[in-house]
């Protein structure tokens, strides 16, 4: 089947070309590509494209990418523009010629005749080696970590995902409601117990218990999109989007009122980005943090269709992305934050300013906020995972009752990262 090296060599180069473009193709797929072409005696390139597409693709993206790559490799003349496809030059035969040769009269291709003409020239082969490199070891890598928030592009957001992903793995799962108040409660797994009983002639001697179900703590993101946050809101929304996509967080935006935008965040399209931009543009007004925090507590218990769901609860995490400037009375903000903390959730304040916000509301509520962190470039986000987990590792610090009853007593803010 593969005894005609020259045409299969050409297919192998096509496979190599696909691999360079991110396709995962093993020997089995390569053989199947040759097999399917021979088996069906396919002469029509369009049919070959359809067959190979199914064999080579393994995702929606590759499925859509394949026809372009196929055309670019086998019919370079048809491709308009000056697309440069990852280094390989096609100087060999066209696909119809190759098929003719591959199937040619019972597969009696003469390798010695065609071996040199099919495939890459020596010049082309030379170009396959390695990616394009800059002169003198120069690098094109952008110093993204130090890039100010205002200069961020939507495509840079992938960097955020990498920073947020570890949090998902490190967040300790919590028991489902049924077990929360019954520390030692266990459910009998009758099916497994009966199965195990077969080894003791049907006598139920060893009982098997079900694993206690746990769920990941919920993460909520509240993004301030008021006028004072105009310069930072777009980045914070991208950050929220990463949280939403990586941690399945629920995202709310607020200025004078609060609205949930989780559904928008989950959709990954340019149109969504436009909507997010429109949201930040349209919301550029005043801020009512206290009112919105209380509104958030209510809305967290509502599902997408307005149905009642389990809202904010123990060990959940709330990140507020705001500069802290509030038009509500400071006491009201304190009360709102206390309401959230009384539910057992942690509340972290991420601010665009280098120092902790100096507004009266934040200064008054500082003791009941679980942690502060300045977020002004990517590197500053590296401490986010530690900040979120540090509080959880010290239960004495999370004793809400103690904190809430002594709110007037200033506390050492050693965990404040700024």
């Amino acid at each position: 089947m593969l005894d005609s090296p020259a045409p299969t060599e050409e297919i192998r180069r096509f496979v190599a070309y696909l691999r360079e473009n991110g396709f995962v193709i093993g020997l089995a797929e390569f053989k199947a590509m040759v097999d399917v072409t021979l088996h069906a005696q396919i002469r029509d390139p369009a049919r070959i494209q359809k067959c190979w597409r199914g064999l080579a693709s393994s995702s929606q993206q590759q499925w859509h990418q394949f026809p372009g790559l196929f055309e670019a490799f086998w019919f370079p003349g048809k491709v308009k523009g000056s697309t440069k496809a990852s280094g390989q030059k096609k100087t060999g035969k066209s696909l119809p010629e190759l098929i003719k040769e591959l199937q040619g009269e019972g597969g009696s291709t003469k390798p010695s005749d065609t071996g040199k003409t099919i495939g890459l020239s020596s010049e082309g082969q030379g170009e396959v080696d390695g990616p394009e490199k800059g002169q003198g070891g120069a690098s094109r890598v952008d110093p993204l970590t130090e890039k100010p928030l205002g200069d961020w592009l939507p495509q840079d957001s992938k960097q955020l995902d990498k920073l947020i992903a570890p949090l998902q793995a490190r967040l300790k799962r919590k028991l489902v409601q049924h077990y929360q108040n019954r520390a030692h409660a266990q459910k009998l797994d009758l099916k497994k117990s009966i199965r195990r009983a077969s080894s003791t002639a049907g006598e139920l001697i060893q009982l098997t218990m079900k694993d206690r179900k746990t769920v990941a703590p919920k993460v909520f993101i509240l993004v301030d999109v008021s006028k004072s946050m105009e310069a930072h809101a777009q980045f914070f929304l991208r950050m929220a989007r990463s949280f939403c996509q990586v941690l399945n967080a629920r995202v709310f935006v607020f200025h004078t009122s609060l609205i949930e935008v989780s559904a928008l965040m989950k959709r990954d399209s340019g149109r969504v980005q436009e909507k997010i931009n429109a949201v930040t543009f349209g919301f550029g007004g005043g801020t009512r943090i206290a009112t919105n925090l209380l509104s958030f507590v209510r809305q967290s218990g509502l599902g997408p269709s307005g149905n009642r769901i389990r809202g904010l609860g123990r060990r959940d995490i709330v990140y507020v992305l705001s500069d802290g400037y509030d038009t509500d009375p400071a006491q009201q903000t304190l009360a709102a934050i206390q309401t959230i903390r009384k539910k057992g959730a942690e509340l972290f304040w991420l601010h665009p300013t280098i120092a902790v916000p100096q507004s009266e509301a934040i200064q008054l509520s500082k003791d009941v906020i679980s942690g502060f962190m300045a977020v002004n470039h990517l590197a500053s986000l590296e401490g986010l995972v530690d900040l979120s987990l540090k509080r959880k590792q010290h239960p004495s610090q999370t004793n809400e009752k103690q904190q809430l009853s002594h709110t007037t007593e200033p506390r050492e803010a050693s965990w404040v990262a700024s």
Binding site: G26, A28, R47, K50, G54, S59, W63, I194, G202, V272
Partner: protein
Amino acid sequence: MNVQQIAELLSKASYITDDSLSEMVWMGLTIGRPLLLEGEAGVGKTAIAQACATALGRDLYRLQCHESLDLNQAVYEWNYSRQLLEIRLREAEGGDKTSLRDDLFSEKFLLKRPLMQAITSAKPSVLLIDEIDRADEAFEAYLLEVLGEFQITVPELGTIKATTRPLVVLTSNGTRDLSDALRRRCLYHYVDYPSVPRELKIVQTLIPDADIQLLQQAVLFVHQLRKEDLDKTPGIAETLDWIRILCAHNLKKLPEDPKEFESTLSALLKTRNDQWQVSTHVLSKLMGSGQRVGIDAGVVASRS
């Protein structure tokens, strides 16, 4: 059997396929590889397996995946209660117990689940593994042996090899990323929303009594609606439901005033947000944009 014949057989089984998909089915049958179909809900991924079974005259074994799916539900399970009963009966009879151990773990006491049924089927069959992305990774890893070698290992019985290779169809809605190992064992096909002519042909086949003008207008309307940024884009199933509702209202064409059919849109719009988003104004716009649209199949819909 060639691709055209497959397309015709599927068409007779009320599944209007495109060239690419029938090519994939042909390849699945020819080289014996499973088909992995990905796409939005309601585009006809599950239906292709059912149609293949009908078209090829094969038995269909369906495995609906879910989070807690285990091998006992998917592959096989020993019939414990029957085994216990057998032990008690032998004890009561006081007969020969030497062969009991072997007898208890024979095929007589094996409860075959869909994967085992498909593998041991004497006739070629169609195995549908629906929504594989809902199953956990451990089950996905187990499938590698089944899909790669078409064999199942039962410790007590040994390895059972398929006598005839079933046509395996896996569907996924993309709620979880499948492993590369599984993807590599399959032929991949992304099932997209159908083109206007194909969707028109589908609805004509499945709702033959409906007025052609209504069908054209409804299909065009749904296509316009799919361009909107909806939470849940309506699939073919939704289009069919909607047209059936319109037919039940004895409509021969879409009313001029969107308000007259606004109440029927619950068949197309499945979330509160979508219903809120598609207001009367948006409906008017959608109706307007579909006023006169040329379709490559030569169908021209007019909202006259």
